[in-house]
Symmetry: C2
Subunit: 402 residues, 2 copies
């Protein structure tokens, strides 16, 4: 293997990662557990919604022309000829000239009526309703297809389902949806210095933090994650685990291994069983990233430094997952903030600077990529594009929230 990396631009690395992403696999599931899943079908309204003309206030259904010119001192006198009962339709209930009908919010607008006067603008007397404000045609009425029209595609394939969408799906009587199957992501930890989180590290050893972090992120993002534990640098054992993970998963992440030897072994194992497509990305932190493919499945070698691994997870692995999920519009997770300190950057590579946000001020957390604390203490990151030599204090920046 080559001793040094062949660094390519981040956008080219992302293009490679998304190009080799397996296509989304649709599966049907009950709508009740589908929040956060990505739709694999278009969902039309099955009927006009609300389905009938309904009042949006409590008041009296009227013919709007009967209220023309009415006011506090010149009320229109209307005869109340009945009331709308919620959830039912009385075919005999009609509003004729000079009459009105009591209607609660959500009630069906009776025949003959074309508007509703709010209760607050009326006064009841013995057998007459005094209307003190004119209403115009259609006022306070929701038309039968104001919310959604029958056949209208409201939720399109590729959308990540929100809680609000669950309201719409209930409204159209949808009980089952076709969504993209959760990608199964295998995580292999490598590095002779690693011990499991449950062990007490001996001299020169550290607990494996990255696997837990990656697994938690992926589960939250909508993946199934399979942990293959820690593999030491015996090539044969590494190959066996990698083959098994490739067989059992849709994508395999190999969590380095930050040393050259580890990286070389990872690249060697991928090259031996498949092909290495990218070895080195112009991103900081995150340079020593490997993108490869074995038996048609993406195998990504992540850097060993936690901050680097996390940045590559977001910058490279997430677009790959989005492609596997068929996600059309990634969920917005960004905020604007003023930079509290200047951030230097090196031209030619993308810098992902971790920042903490307090009252609209983004403070960069400088620190080596080997530190977990810049991740734990930050709210997100500021992306500094490759053509830029850094950002000045006071600049208004977009912070991508973790």
């Amino acid at each position: 293997m080559s001793r040094f990396l062949h660094v390519i631009a981040l956008k080219d690395a992302v293009a490679t990662a998304t190009r080799i992403a397996p296509a989304p696999v649709p599966e049907k599931m009950p709508v009740g557990s589908a929040t956060g899943r990505v739709l694999a079908e278009d969902i039309p309204a099955d009927m006009d919604i609300p389905g009938f003309d309904r009042s949006v206030v409590d008041g009296y259904a009227v013919r709007s022309e009967d209220t023309t010119g009415s006011g506090d001192t010149t009320p229109a006198h209307l005869q109340c000829s009945g009331m709308v009962v919620m959830g039912s339709l009385d075919p005999n209930l009609t509003v004729t000239q000079g009459t009105c009908v009591y209607i609660p919010t959500g009630g069906v607008l009776p025949k003959g009526a074309d508007a509703v006067v709010m209760l607050e603008h009326t006064e009841e007397t013995a057998d007459t309703v005094l209307v003190k404000r004119p209403v115009s045609y259609g006022e306070n009425v929701l038309l039968h297809d104001d919310d959604f029209s029958k056949g209208e595609i409201v939720l399109a394939a590729g959308r990540k389902l929100t809680p609000q969408d669950m309201g719409f799906l209930a409204a159209v009587g949808c009980t089952e949806v076709t969504v993209a199957k959760k990608p199964v992501v295998g995580i292999i930890s490598t590095g002779n210095e690693l011990v499991p989180a449950t062990a007490r590290p001996g001299p020169g050893q550290v607990r494996d933090a990255n696997a837990s972090m990656l697994a938690a992120y992926l589960a939250e993002y909508g993946c199934e994650t399979w942990l293959y534990g820690i593999v030491r640098d015996e090539r044969e054992a590494f190959e066996t685990v990698t083959s098994r993970a490739v067989r059992e998963c849709d994508v395999v992440l190999i969590s380095g291994g930050s040393s050259k030897d580890d990286r070389d072994m990872t690249a060697g194992v991928i090259a031996g069983r498949g092909e290495v497509l990218v070895h080195g990305i112009a991103i900081a932190p995150g340079k020593p990233t490997i993108i490869g493919r074995i038996e048609g499945k993406p195998v990504i070698g992540l850097p060993g430094h936690p901050a680097a691994a996390f940045v590559v997870l977001i910058a490279v692995v997430t677009p790959l997952l989005d492609r596997m999920l068929g996600l059309k519009k990634p969920v917005l997770r960004a905020t604007g903030a003023v930079l509290g300190e200047s951030i230097p950057s090196q031209k030619g590579r993308e810098e992902y600077a971790r920042v903490r946000i307090d009252n609209g001020v983004a403070t960069p957390l400088f620190g080596k990529a080997g530190l977990l604390n810049t991740l734990v203490k930050s709210d997100g990151f500021v992306r500094i594009p490759p053509g830029c030599e850094g950002l000045e204090k006071g600049t208004f920046v977009e912070v991508i929230l973790w």
Copy 2:
């Protein structure tokens, strides 16, 4: 019950809701499923992390003074006296004057060495290493407590655990955490016009969208949700279900019922079994909201219009849940955008205008609160404070993302 509402300011309503919130209940759980849960204990580092001085690059461990003055044409010549093996500590490995030791990224800095020269800045000859750049004391070295010091509180009670935090918890060997128990939220739907999502609405009927929307939001926010189905406006049945929900849950949401009669019945049932504290909030949409308490448990009557119910869920119910979870710092979910159209607002009430965001432009989605579509098509909302009569097109606004 009073025919019209006694409207109070949103901040006072939120103060009432949080005042009656039950205290957080701690529970222990395995760390592996704790992402998104709110910590109920402080988590200190159990040891210095990384725990030993380690290299952050592949290279040679040196005494920095031995590299002073070195350059491409004036390299320092050092004798390589061995190599650091990952994950172990060789007590005999020492760097003395004029020598160096090969060290991979993450390796233990050997005795005598105080810096590491990157491999890229060296050249190996037969038995000598040529160093072509000077390094300063501590360069490329992570000190034993650079990430976290033993005893330092890294994650404080009240924090919502992120995937990054899972990395830290693994690093400190934490396998179990104490978090706030998930609040159990009961949802009762009222309204004679409602039918379940599985039914075909008859004349004058609509499917219950709100219960599904509320349940999905609450589950995503970290609650258990119990659905009590649709109760029609028979007072006795309503009281029975409410009593059962109060007994079985920590908080009860009564999803209106947008008509005055429904609201009055909800208020009547709460008043009959407990007390009504708030009946009407100066917020749009969302005015006809009820905050009450039965047997010490919060019972919230939400407006029936979907957009109103959702806004009140976010503006009033979420702060109550945050208090029950002991959440100290709500998760940031906002972005800046330029308003694409002016939004009018009425002085004296808070307006929650739904907006869609495209390329940094926030377009208001005007529409009656009875429409689901403004929710499904929006990315979040712009809050217009009560003292403000609206926002002009072109204003830079903060959009709170759903």
